[in-house]
């Protein structure tokens, strides 16, 4: 047997064009809403216009009599069968949570909540009948403002007796990972206090959510536009009391998620329950307005922050007091989102003391949950804004203050004050490269010049030297944080007799390019052509085990499961190769897709072995005729990508309009499988973070009505709003996985928001402005300028030296009143020990 193939050029690291493009650019896609089955019925939802009300009566008769309508269901009609929607992350033992029926039974708690479901023979007939359902409401006091809700007053859920769902604390002194932050506050030379608001956002994936359920046959099949087919299957089985084996969940082509499809939705449960009741296939597809109204939202936190430092600008302590708006209910991971940020406020800096306290609050608004970054963008924003404030206070360049405090590259691995061990990184290298690409010094000179000549258009430069923890996640860590599941990932490899290779992944891509990236990994590992690898995922009958795609986990966890499965294939093939080559197992080496007898030209290819095993005519004794392998990978640590992002904005002081002039980022995500895909992830991530800084905000009025319920009002940016970004990478391989890779899916979003806001504030600093609330709209910027002394800004001084402009002084006499007791009865101590 001889193999004549040359060893392929390494696939990993190559900018392969994507396999998945072929169907997407030609319209040969299978989105859930494309699925149509014989006799399929269509669902439409009747939603509450009230944010908080008791349902006194529902008259469904006119709707039932409407042409084409088959049935109308209220919450009472579905009864126990609809169960209560799951929350998988009870962050404390005493966490309070209301029941969450998919169709409200007697009370509505946010505007948009489902109160009845129409089933009809066509989608238009179902929608027509929605208007005919007559619901009488008895209005209840509406709780909209989380800060007010935290103090008591009207209750979102009177039966809970409080608006507080849970309080969660991490304190470095109690955890043994650092000192007591109250000591740092008492002894501080410099004390900076700020309160920042993380406005409420909407994930706004382009494909509205859709679900189709076919209850015929032995197994009920549910197609859903979801990121999490495996988790959804388990949760639906538990919620609806169906055997897992009788349920098959398929995520076909899914049009974006960003955390917004990391959910078990009321609509999924209702479609399942109704289709099983009627014995007919049913479909529900939301409108965009419904998606914005009732698909979960993200962010929505108020951050009270205290940073202490020495006169030289060395940080000594950080205290975070967070209010997080849950909305009316706890979704799948709602309460845990702020906790994902808890370990990231200290970021890349060597804080000796740290305390994080989060209070989760109920309000009569749609519930919040994961949105790209989930907790980490909030934390990164807070610390990166504070570091700019510290730079101003100390009178040095914002990059200089960061360098004085960050972990040096020779100090890795480094255990942080939050108890995480950062494996690798090089903040100096990324920053040096970013400054060079950006033309930092020239832009600073232009900034000075524009200030001196009192240009109505001012230049601002913003910095963000971020890191994040991603690759969710080591299962034992999730256990320590009271999360309801593990963080492992699964993959299988099937060696087909044709010599082709099937990879079955537990991850569930929806735009990330897994088909391409997993093919590259397997092509290298098994020495087979890239084209010969097929990747299957997103169907629980094909991929039986998996924990799906979110938290920048697919490559660092799922990719490693693929590697582990490939390595098992090689080990299974080895004794068979030895048998066929009549050689000793120990004399074989595997490389470039073939087993070679050392020192000879005798070899056999892995594809030939797959065929030999399929025929099974000549197997060694006691060896099973299969090369197929499964692997489950549980990471030992998170991955910690980092980078330096620099943003220059031009702010028109007459109109308040902000334009992005330059944006440069140098990210370090370790080794890269496909640079083309990575760059795309960075671009898209940047824009979502920039959009938080400048444009997007989900707004509720005082009555709890969402006033940004369409793309007319919710400002998802277009191409015309943006510029080309300048991106580059440095490479500090992860030491905690064999590929050396780190996550990239959320990095851009986490990093960019503070870079932009720092730039806006930097442009206006000399007017005495030290914050603009997000989004930094023309109106907000203009209003802030109107409140300043008009000519104050034209002093022409440099940003870093304008100490007189800092609003919050560092008078140590304030410290006494800032100190607070640290005892929190009933609070929960979190940690990674």
């Amino acid at each position: 047997m001889t193999v004549t193939e040359e060893r392929p050029v390494a696939e990993v690291g190559s900018p392969r064009r994507r396999k998945e493009d072929a169907r997407l650019i030609t319209g040969r896609t299978r989105w859930t809403d494309n699925i149509s089955l014989p006799g399929m019925l269509h669902l439409a939802m009747v939603r509450s216009p009230m944010a908080h009300a008791r349902i006194t009566s529902i008259d469904v008769q006119p709707a039932e009599n409407s042409p084409g309508v088959v049935a109308v269901y209220t919450g009472a009609d579905l009864g126990d069968e609809q169960g209560s929607l799951p929350c998988a992350w009870p962050i404390t033992a005493d966490q309070k949570a209301p029941p969450h029926p998919p169709i409200s039974v007697d009370t509505v708690n946010f505007a948009g909540e489902i109160v009845a479901c129409i089933v009809a023979r066509s989608a238009s007939a179902a929608k027509d009948a929605v208007e005919l359902v007559d619901v009488e409401y008895d209005e209840l006091p509406v709780v909209v403002d989380m800060a007010a809700a935290a103090k008591g007053g009207n209750l979102t859920h009177p039966e809970l007796g409080t608006n507080v769902s849970a309080t969660w604390v991490f304190d470095s002194a109690e955890a043994g990972t650092g000192g007591n932050v109250e000591d740092a506050i008492r002894d501080a030379d410099v004390l900076i206090e700020r309160t920042y608001r993380q406005q409420r956002l909407m994930p706004a994936f382009m494909e509205p959510r859709s679900v189709v359920c076919d209850p015929t046959g032995e197994q009920t099949t549910l197609w859903s536009s979801t990121q999490i087919p495996h988790i959804l299957k388990l949760m639906l089985a538990l919620t609806c009391g169906i055997s897992e084996s009788k349920l098959r969940v398929i995520a076909p082509d899914v049009g974006g998620g960003f955390g917004g499809k990391l959910q078990v939705t009321p609509e999924e449960v209702i479609t399942l329950v109704v289709s099983r009741r009627l014995g007919k296939p049913c479909k529900y597809t939301e409108t965009r307005s419904e998606s914005l109204l009732a698909g979960h939202h993200g962010r929505d936190q108020i951050q009270k922050l205290t940073l202490t430092a020495t006169r030289e600008g060395t940080v000594t302590g950080l205290k975070v007091e967070l209010l997080a708006d849950m909305g009316a209910y706890l979704g799948l991971v709602t309460p845990g989102v702020p906790i994902l940020g808890a370990f990231m406020y200290n970021a890349i800096y060597k804080f000796p003391s740290y305390r994080f306290e989060c209070t989760n609050i109920f309000t009569n608004k749609n519930w919040t949950d994961a949105y790209r970054g989930a907790g980490r963008p909030e934390a990164t924003f807070a610390i990166e804004r504070l570091m700019d404030e510290l730079a101003v206070e100390i009178g040095v360049d914002p990059l200089e203050i960061r360098e004085r405090n960050w972990i040096k590259h020779e100090e890795f691995p480094f255990t942080t004050v939050a108890g995480l061990e950062y494996d690798s990184g090089n903040y100096e290298a990324a920053t040096a490269r970013a400054k060079e690409l950006f033309g930092y010094d020239a832009l600073r000179a232009e900034q000075r010049e524009r200030r001196e000549r009192q240009d109505p258009v001012q230049l601002g430069i913003g910095v963000s030297t971020f890191t994040e923890m991603c690759g969710l996640a080591p299962s034992r860590v999730l256990g320590a944080l009271s999360y309801g599941a593990g963080g492992w990932e699964h993959a299988s490899i099937r060696m087909l007799p044709s010599g082709k290779v099937e990879v079955i992944a537990g991850t569930s891509g929806h735009g990330q390019g897994h088909q391409t990236a997993w093919s590259q990994i397997v092509a290298d590992r098994l020495g087979v052509p890239f084209e010969d690898v097929e990747v299957l995922h997103g169907d629980t009958s094909i991929s039986a085990r998996g924990l799906d795609t979110y938290g920048s986990r697919s490559l660092t966890v799922g990719g490693m499961a693929v590697v582990a499965a490939a390595d098992k294939v090689i080990e299974k093939a080895r004794p068979i190769a030895a048998h066929l080559l009549e050689a000793n197992v120990d004399d074989l080496e595997f490389s470039a897709g073939k087993f070679n007898v050392k020192g000879t030209d005798s070899s056999v290819g892995i594809g030939e072995l797959a065929l030999a095993v399929f025929a099974a005519h000549n197997m060694p004794d006691g060896v099973e005729p299969s090369l197929d392998a499964d692997a489950t990978f549980d990471p030992e640590n998170f991955s910690f990508p980092h980078g330096t992002h620099l943003c220059a904005v031009e702010v028109d002081t007459e109109t308040g309009e902000t334009k992005i002039r330059n944006y440069t980022c140098v990210d370090d995500i370790g080794k890269v499988v496909n640079p083309l895909i990575v760059e795309g992830q960075v671009h898209g991530g940047l824009v979502q973070g920039i959009a938080q800084a400048l444009w997007e905000e989900a707004v509720y009025d005082d009555s709890g009505t969402l006033v940004t319920g369409s793309f007319v009002d919710y400002l998802v940016p277009s191409a015309a709003d943006l510029i080309n970004f300048s991106t580059d990478r440095t490479e500090s391989p992860a030491t905690t996985n064999a590929l050396g890779v780190k996550g990239v899916g959320e990095a851009g979003t986490i990093a960019s928001t503070p870079a932009v806001v720092n730039a806006v504030v930097d442009a206006l600093r000399h007017f005495g402005i030290n914050d603009i609330e997000m989004p930094c709209s023309p109106h907000r910027v203009w209003s802030a300028l109107q409140q300043t002394d008009g000519r104050m800004g034209w002093s022409g001084a440099d940003t870093p030296t304008e100490k007189t402009m800092v609003e919050d002084d560092a008078d140590p006499s304030h410290n006494a009143q800032l100190s607070q007791g640290s005892g929190d009865a009933g609070s929960h101590q979190g940690g990674f020990e």
């Binding site: 072929a22 494309n34 965009r288 307005s289 735009g511 671009h683 191409a719 080309n724």
Partner: protein, 166 residues
């Protein structure tokens, strides 16, 4: 019900539609052109963009009856057959990694073709402005703009030999 007669991707169809039926619903549900998708209900996102007599329209803002007697081209009609050669714009989107989840892609490609028909040699800013009515949540637009510019340059180079490929 109203009887309409429309040519879609080169095939003539005669169908009865409710007068209120939107073109996009007719295309998806009656003709089966599910490559054209719906992303919003306010004509902001452009996901449903098709060509009506060689001009791009958002098919959610056109009634099916208004397309009576006209020709519609969808993303599915761009390449010549299922194994046919890709349209240069489709090829450019692939080469430049101008799509991730792919949901906005059909509309984005149809609009990009129309943009270059109107302005065969646009500047970067003209491309950005020309795509303002099409939203993408994945790519940050950078590679989409790059893809469109790459086609326009190629078109310029080919003028006189393979002009009119768009």
């Amino acid at each position: 019900m109203t009887r309409i007669s429309i040519q879609v991707d080169g095939v003539q169809y005669s169908d009865d539609v409710e007068p209120r039926t939107l073109l996009v619903h007719y295309l998806r549900e009656q003709v089966g052109k599910t490559g054209t998708v719906i992303g919003c209900d306010t004509s902001n996102c452009g996901s449903c963009t098709v060509h009506l007599d060689d001009t791009s329209v958002k098919s959610c803002t056109v009634l099916a009856v208004q397309a009576d007697g006209h020709e519609v081209t969808t993303i599915e009609g761009l390449a010549a057959g299922t194994d046919g050669e890709l349209h240069p714009m489709q090829q450019a989107f692939h080469e430049n990694h101008a799509l991730q989840c792919g949901y906005c892609t059909p509309g984005m490609i149809m609009q990009s073709i129309d943009l270059l028909r109107d302005n065969p040699s646009p500047t970067e800013q003209e491309v950005r402005d020309g795509l303002e009515g099409n939203l993408c949540r994945c790519t940050g637009y950078q590679n989409i703009v790059k893809a469109v510019l790459s086609v326009s340059e190629e078109t310029r180079l080919k003028v006189g030999t393979a002009g009119g490929t768009l």
